[in-house]
Point group: C2
Chain length 107, copies 2
DNA sequence: TTGATATATGAACAACTGTTCATATATTCA
DNA sequence: TGAATATATGAACAGTTGTTCATATATCAA
């Protein structure tokens, strides 16, 4: 084992970076529940259409979401089983931390 | 369920952002194996002492690592069980992706 | 105390990131 | 074909991030 491979460190960093933005989190959290077309995402998430499209491209290019065209719409969905696990993992961490924080407040 | 809470989206984003940097990944990957003092990390990871210290502060402030002083040294270790799970999750994702990529190359 | 060693911090700066605006492309329908 | 709708893309810009250099703080040993 010893030292982490330099490339792996960069790849891992790049991978987690994808989840390091609230807009992308919103998108992924939504797609975790059901596939959805762009205009529905715009409506539901209250994000500028262009900003959403830019973020979807990032998710696409990193194989986090997949998409198919249906008439005029493009329908996006999660491409990876790990995404859900990862998000839930993060949520768990945050809720534990918040629970601990409010415990502290009572002292 | 429906739409993700705005605060949660930001908190989750901030959480994952911590893992979105190769220097921090190197640090965490190393601490996953054993606790270590700063100068050992400097030597092992070949990172500038100041840069390392700045990154350790970020990890500290986000309760990802904990530390204790031992004489002149400060010894860091992981503070959270989730970190290992998260890293392994990311590594798994990347290795699957790479496996798939090289599969593609053969076509 | 003084010098040596270990770690932390602040300021400055270059590089990167996400958003917006304008516009391009794609599809459907009349 | 032309208009309407849905989505994507490029350029510009402000804000953020990570590194470096210089320096501060902390601990130990003489």
């Amino acid at each position: 084992m010893a030292v982490i491979n330099e490339d792996l460190a960069y790849d891992l960093g790049d991978f987690f970076k994808i989840f390091g933005d609230p807009t992308r989190i919103k998108i992924l959290y939504t797609l975790l529940q059901r596939e959805m077309c762009v205009s529905d995402l715009v409506a539901e998430l209250n994000i500028n259409q262009s900003a959403l499209s830019h973020q979807l491209r990032i998710l696409r290019q990193n194989d986090i979401v997949k998409f198919r065209r249906d008439g005029k719409s493009v329908i996006y969905s999660l491409d990876d089983e790990h995404v859900g696990i990862l998000l839930r993992n993060g949520i768990e961490h945050i809720s534990h931390k918040n629970a601990y924080d409010s415990e502290e407040e009572h002292k």
